[in-house]
């Protein structure tokens, strides 16, 4: 059996697992509800008088802060708690198969959640004539950001047997990756850090890259940023699994 087939086996198991527990479903409903409320109420989708989904995309990083850890927390912590990690690692799987299969399952679930917000897109298309290209890039950015956050969450889930700890750690880590790009923080450090260092910090933030894509600019560097963060944390995830598996 080749690696793709092995990853597919893990993917099927992990994706199905989201539907056997009510927890993921509850978070999904909350996510969709909050997406709509924040977009219409706080974002003022109607009042702005513009046919676009900017208010929707603006709240995505904040919604991800709780949806993503909810999806990633169980990925490894549960297997370590119940001992099924020993089963997985003695079946003909490599650690890489497991890391990718689990990540892709969580990411697919996050993409399903995003896809379920399509009625918002349909609404603005019906009310006006939005720039569909901009909205599409916004969706791609949201999916890439969720992927990067999920990779971080999966990585942190491998450290613990406790899903609640995994949830909190992931939320905090993703929050930090967001706020390091906020002008408030950058202004604060710019007083005593050289300009290049401040720019480097800003470049590391999710927000810098997400916001440029949200405006509809599909820049290779932004895509590369998300793909690199995802790949780096998946790589580290494999190392942590090996390191912590027997504890």
């Amino acid at each position: 059996m080749n690696s793709t087939a092995r990853i597919a086996t893990i993917f099927r198991r992990e994706f199905a697992a989201y539907f056997t527990s009510p927890l993921a479903g509850i978070f999904l409903v909350i996510y969709l509800f909050m997406s709509a409320v924040l977009t219409f109420q706080m974002g003022g989708l109607y009042e702005r008088g513009q046919a676009d989904l900017r208010p929707f995309f603006q709240v995505q990083p904040w919604l991800d802060l709780f949806l993503v850890p909810a999806l990633s927390m169980r990925l490894w912590a549960e297997d370590r708690r119940t001992g099924t990690i020993e089963l997985l690692l003695t079946l003909p799987f490599s650690v890489r198969d497991l890391v990718l299969g689990k990540f892709l399952a969580a990411w697919a679930f996050a993409c399903v959640a995003l896809a379920l917000t399509a009625p918002l897109w349909i609404t603005v298309a019906w009310l006006g004539s939005p720039d569909h290209g901009t909205i599409l890039v916004g969706y791609i950015a949201s999916a890439l950001m969720a992927g990067a956050f999920l990779a971080i969450g999966a990585f942190l889930s491998a450290f613990t047997k406790n899903q609640v700890i995994a949830f909190v750690l992931s939320g905090v880590a993703c929050f930090l990756l967001m706020v390091i790009g906020f002008p408030m923080l950058l202004d604060f450090v710019s007083g005593w850090l050289p300009r290049t260092a401040v720019e480097a910090i800003a470049a590391m933030s999710v927000m810098t890259h997400f916001e440029s894509m949200m405006r509809g600019v599909l820049d290779g560097r932004d895509v590369l940023y998300f793909v690199s963060v995802t790949a780096a944390f998946l790589f580290l995830n494999g190392i942590v699994v090996e390191w912590k598996k027997a504890e």
Partner: protein, 257 residues
Amino acid sequence: MKELIVARGLRKSFGSFEAVRGIDLIVPAGQVLGFLGPNGAGKSTTMRMLTGFLEPTEGTVTLNGIQLAADPIAAKGTFGYLPEGAPAYGDMRVEEFLNFVARARGYAGAEARARVDRSIERLHLEPYRRQLVETLSKGYKRRTGLAQAILHDPPILVLDEPTDGLDPNQKHEVRELIRRLGDDRAVVLSTHILEEVEAVCTRAVIINEGRVVFDGTPKALDAKAAANVTSNRLDHVFRMLTTSDIGGASRTKAASR
């Protein structure tokens, strides 16, 4: 007979603690090896090294001619393994769980279904096939773990306490199954129950503090007990070999195999 398990010079350290201190184990087809030892002697650690869950600090494992370190995926296809505590996905039904393992073993479609059905039949799990694993009693969970281990008819079986938590009837059935499987396979099973060694094993290996202190037939083990010991003879030998208070200094290796 073909040597299916060849483990040489296995050592495992966790930090400064040396759990396994040089174990050699060669198991040919047709042998059921009972792996004994007090808690913390290194039984599970050794089994975890045989199955590739843990990498040995030193030493090599070759399974059915395949070096575990060189080609872990292929080597992991040669054995079925029941880990300690028989872990399984609680949120899956018995047949779903077995189907997942069948897929992991490379079976699909009708063949996967046939394998799952056969495994369920062999472990008498039919009435429970639609039940969630987390709702199973301890004994049935253990049987599900065994069903998973034998699903692909592997030449090697590594079973960590396969009869733990089973009632006497279930124990009898599982022992019969292991004995039958052992006819043409290499089986390594760990147990705390010494009578089990007499009942199913053709070879007994006792380890203590990470080293082999006895290796021979169950008969040879029994013969080590003093003639005046009439009851629980194996318990007596076990204590003698694994504690220092009653003549445990004689850590000899029986020649018979």
